[in-house]
């Protein structure tokens, strides 16, 4: 069979064209339902009581006052909960790190502040919340440790590595010696604050008890298969006993990768009461699980006077919880991005009395690239090189870590096109050289890199006799546009208008697919959908050819195109058959196909796959008052084939906004005496507001990649990775002040 996709030609093609979201009408009319919005006649509302201490044990829980409130059904605690598994393995999910997962309400041990210690169950939400305030918990508190600085000296190499996260490579060359001898040296410490994802939809689970005794769980998750695995493990259920659905996710950014405790609690209560249960977390409780952990990083760059790197060291110490060894790749990027003969990359963990951190949009890369791309800017200053020139001097077309060429790497085009659009050539390299009135103007740039991943995924496609196509799998559309791109792929594969294609996602009854994360969904689900639709195309083509007096009778599959609901000989539209006629003639009501797709292992043996970014930022900083405004961003992205420039652009601008948040605003502040994040609300944890965001310009540079048949590399994360460093570099250019700890708040510029 031909390797090209036999699809509609020319202007009919949806793939590669800007298309509005197919889920748009549902979202703008309020009809799109999220996990906490499904209901049942017997619905009970659960409200979580969180611990006020970060470390110690519960010595008593008095629920009498809460249970006396009219409308309260029960208060579940570790002392009265139904019997549940105590084995850590029962609580494992598909993407959790090594360690002992949290077992909610299992025992009296407190591992972090805000840990669930009781679930109040009531007939309505407000009653449950009120009663929760009457639950009195007493503790034997121990002194928590949440200050990573105090723990850096005792940081450790995680004994068990996290699946899917490459540990730092063995050092090559002799970085210490080379750094010592290098004529130009930059050695600096960088850090960024703890950040919480804060998707707009708080975490929620609605577990509905069906008439046949099975459960349907609507869970805020980025992939329902993970919740199903978790529930079957934790409650000893068979997969057919629990269907998990989540058609829409109100933002994830990684916070919805692992099932969270509200799912466990809702299922626990549903089993206990025999009634449907919904547990919705409050915004405040969104600080009681997963976060992007602060990392203390040291980057050492040794270079020749002409800017060529002679030594590169990148060390990171990152927080994790007492009970799990969360790991991410912070330091490897430095070795992947630059050519250097002497490299040492090291990564250690420190145990904190917090909830386990988790993946947050471009985990590791956001922290690591802030450090390396700031350090490269510092080296540019030291060597007198233009920041782009310095990066070109140290450019590499093959991955120094793996010793393999990149399948594609259009980063140079990103530099060129981004710089041109931004007007970089007009930049005076001298700090404080540009001003407008009382504002200093700064231009900064940075590179970005993220993995182009693909995960094994399946998809099902069903073509009906009426010419309508339904496709889908269990992954989630987390706001990225997955419904839309899969619809485009399906429509093109069979030459249908997008209105005739329906995509279903987020349901364990659909073909199995991984969680939506890592920017792998377009490649993984997209390829599976394409394969399934191609398979259908081949089948319907056979039907068309078998028709009596078929105009396609002696035509090969490779010579036809699918367009306008018809199968036609390429270049001769007069010779064709409509899909409906072919289905009717063949006597088929439907053709149904499920296909699997996975990474191309041959390709992976030869090539490394990454997306790249060159991001350019203009800031204006009030000279006296330190107020920073990001007035312009140009983000040039090399991410292979862009399936939908409209939704892909939104991914990049959205990631840019989050990058601005990292750079200027976001900081979850711990009171180390209490081991408690104190600014647990959106009034005091600042994410960018509309007024903070000005012109954002996105360029997708052409890039051919053959890692998967779609040529797609993923766009969910690449837009954030270099943004914070570019802002910090622009702030330096504006003010002459190098801020090495994010966020860059006013106090750091006075």
């Amino acid at each position: 069979m031909a390797t090209q996709i036999s699809t509609a030609a020319g202007t009919d093609r949806h793939v590669g064209s800007p298309r509005s979201r197919v889920d748009g009408p549902a979202k703008v009319t309020g009809l799109a339902k999220y996990a906490g919005e499904f209901t049942a006649a017997d619905l009970v509302h659960g409200y979580v009581v969180g611990s006020t201490i970060a470390r110690g044990t519960i010595t008593g829980i008095d629920c009498a006052a809460a249970e006396a409130v009219p409308g309260v059904l029960k208060v579940l605690t570790h002392a009265n909960r139904p019997d549940v598994s105590g084995k850590a393995d029962s609580y494992r999910d598909m993407v959790g790190p090594p360690g002992t997962p949290l077992r909610p309400l299992y025992d009296a041990n407190i591992l972090f502040s805000g840990q669930p210690v009781a679930l109040v169950l009531a007939e309505d939400f407000e009653t449950a919340r009120y009663a929760a305030s009457l639950v009195k918990v007493t503790y034997a508190a121990e002194t928590p440790e949440t200050d990573i600085d105090a723990l850096v000296p005792t940081a450790y190499d995680p004994p068990t590595k996290r699946d899917g996260i490459k540990p730092p490579p063995e050092p090559w060359g002799d970085a210490d010696a080379a750094f010592g001898k290098a004529p130009i040296r930059v050695e600096r410490q960088y850090r960024m604050a703890n950040e919480h994802h804060n998707p707009m939809e708080p975490h929620a689970s609605t577990v509905i008890v069906e008439a046949d005794g099975t459960y349907t769980a609507y869970d805020k998750i980025q992939g329902v298969a993970n919740s199903q695995q978790y529930l079957t493990g934790a409650f000893g259920l068979k997969p057919e006993q629990v269907r998990v659905m989540n058609p829409y996710l109100g933002g994830g950014f990684g916070a919805g990768l692992r099932p969270q405790y509200q799912l466990f609690l809702a299922m626990l209560a549903a089993k206990d009461l025999g009634r449907s249960v919904r547990v919705v977390l409050t915004r405040e409780q969104m600080w009681s699980f997963t976060y992007r952990p602060e990392a203390v990083q040291t980057v050492s760059l040794g270079a020749s006077p002409d800017g060529a790197l002679q030594a590169l060291r990148h060390d990171a110490v990152q927080g994790t919880s007492r009970y799990e060894d969360y790991q991410e790749n912070i330091v490897n990027w430095s070795g992947t991005l630059y050519k250097c003969d002497n490299v040492k990359l090291t990564y250690r963990l420190a145990k904190l009395d917090t909830a386990t951190p988790g993946d947050m949009r471009a985990p590791g890369a956001v922290s690591g690239l802030f450090a390396i791309e700031s350090a490269m800017d510092e080296l540019a200053v030291e060597t007198g090189k233009d920041p782009i020139e310095l990066r070109l001097i140290n450019y590499t077309d093959s991955d120094p870590v793996e010793g393999k060429p990149y399948g594609s790497k259009a980063l140079k085009s990103c530099f060129e096109q981004g710089a041109a659009r931004f007007g970089w050539a007009k930049r005076d390299p001298k700090p404080r050289s540009m001003r407008e009135g009382r504002e200093l103007v700064g231009w900064g740039m940075a590179s970005g890199i993220w993995e182009a991943l693909m995960m094994p995924s399946s998809a099902r496609a069903v073509l009906s006799a009426d010419g309508k196509l339904e496709i889908g799998n269990s992954t989630g559309d987390i706001g990225t546009g997955t419904y839309t791109i899969l619809t485009q792929i399906g429509a093109d594969a069979l030459g249908l208008p997008m209105e005739d294609v329906t995509t279903k996602l987020g349901d364990t009854n659909l073909a199995e697919a991984p969680v939506a994360g890592g920017s792998w969904t377009a490649a993984s689900s997209g390829t599976a959908v394409m394969k399934a639709c191609r398979n259908i195309a081949a089948q319907v083509f056979v039907l068309a050819r078998q028709m009596e007096n078929s105009p396609l009778a002696n035509v090969d599959f490779e010579r036809v195109v699918f367009t306008g609901g018809r199968i036609e000989v390429a270049g001769d539209p007069s010779r064709g058959v409509s899909i409906k006629d072919a289905m009717r003639a063949g006597g088929f009501e439907t053709i149904e196909v499920t296909e699997k797709a996975g990474p191309d292992s041959d390709f992976a043996k030869q090539f490394e796959c990454y997306t790249h970014q060159a991001v350019f930022v203009e800031v204006k900083v009030d000279e006296d008052l330190g107020q920073v405004r990001v007035t312009r961003v140009v983000s040039a992205i090399a991410a292979g084939k862009i399936l939908n420039p409209k939704t892909a652009r939104s991914q990049i601008i959205g990631a840019t906004v989050m990058g601005i948040g990292s750079a200027l605003h976001e900081e979850s502040m711990l009171d180390h005496r209490l081991g408690r994040f104190m600014n647990r609300n959106l009034g005091e944890y600042h994410v960018p507001a509309n007024a903070d965001i000005h012109d954002l310009d996105v360029i997708f540079v052409d890039e051919e990649d053959k890692a998967n048949p779609l040529g797609v590399k993923g766009v969910g994360e690449i837009g954030i990775v270099g943004t914070a460093a570019a802002i910090a570099n622009a702030v330096f250019h504006a003010t002459g002040k190098r801020v090495r700890d994010l966020p860059i708040t006013i106090d750091k510029l006075l």
Binding site: T52, L625, R676, A691, I746, D747
Partner: protein
Amino acid sequence: MNRFDYVRAGTVAEAVQAYGAGARFIAGGTNLIDLMKYEVEKPDRLIDITRLPLDGIEEQGGGLRLGALATNAKVAYDDRVAAHYPLLRNAILAGASAQLRNAASTGGNLLQRTRCYYFYDAGTPCNKREPGSGCPAIGGVNRIHAIFGASDACIATHPSDMCVALAALEAVVRVSGPGGDRAIPFSEFHRLPGDNPEKDTNLAPGEIVVSVDLPESRFPQTYTYLKLRDRLSYAFALVSVAAGLELDGDTIKTARLALGGVAHKPWRNREAEALLEGKPATVESFREAADLIVAEAKPQSENVFKIELARRAIVRGLEQAAAGTPQSLSDKRIQ
């Protein structure tokens, strides 16, 4: 929210009559309901005063009377306010969001409770929430806390922007209560925490704000409300400056200056105002006043920067006022 009785009052007298220990008046609700959801406020009874005839804005005695129930938006977009008290308009519009300003009332804005993480967190001690329980903000997470007028019991700040302008405008708060009607000069309305941080204001139990009275037209040209914050909108002030000047040529005839985000109440320093009066409207004069004001600042563990930020903001605010170039509300460049 705890269980409570709900009473809807038709007149001020009814509202006052319905008051008892544990009761709260409710108007816009934007702060009270917020606090009730955190179990910080647990009233036994809510007295809905939104139907009282107090939402008017009327000219009286050469000035303007802002009914206690006039929403923040109504006041901000009133033509008379824009013409005669643009400082007030700008301060209101620098605060909160359009939605909140549409709901929040004038009286309620005065009665906003404090801005402090610990006050809002029923899982920690707080002298304001539970007198005598302690103040973990001292030595804790306190970069947003007070640098003026704090006590060993409380270091929280007042969150309002509008009140900072009202302090500079020397408004008068008219209240009605079981003991009758009285007028409270704005500077005496809010309290410093001292040993009783649970008391935010000098209102007596059962007293209700009826109106805020503005004196005759003030600073229609030479004013500013300058707000520095952690993002460019929809955030509380780290430091804000309400400044109004009356100039005679280049000489300052009258100066009124209030700071927000730095104390348990809008912060005024009359010595600094007096120092400015009679001086030329120059940066040197402004620096002198700023130095005088910050001389009495006392930082907490994490907010030393606020002293220098306040000093610079005062100077810039006075420059903006003197030049008649008030801070724009939508263009975030600081003039």
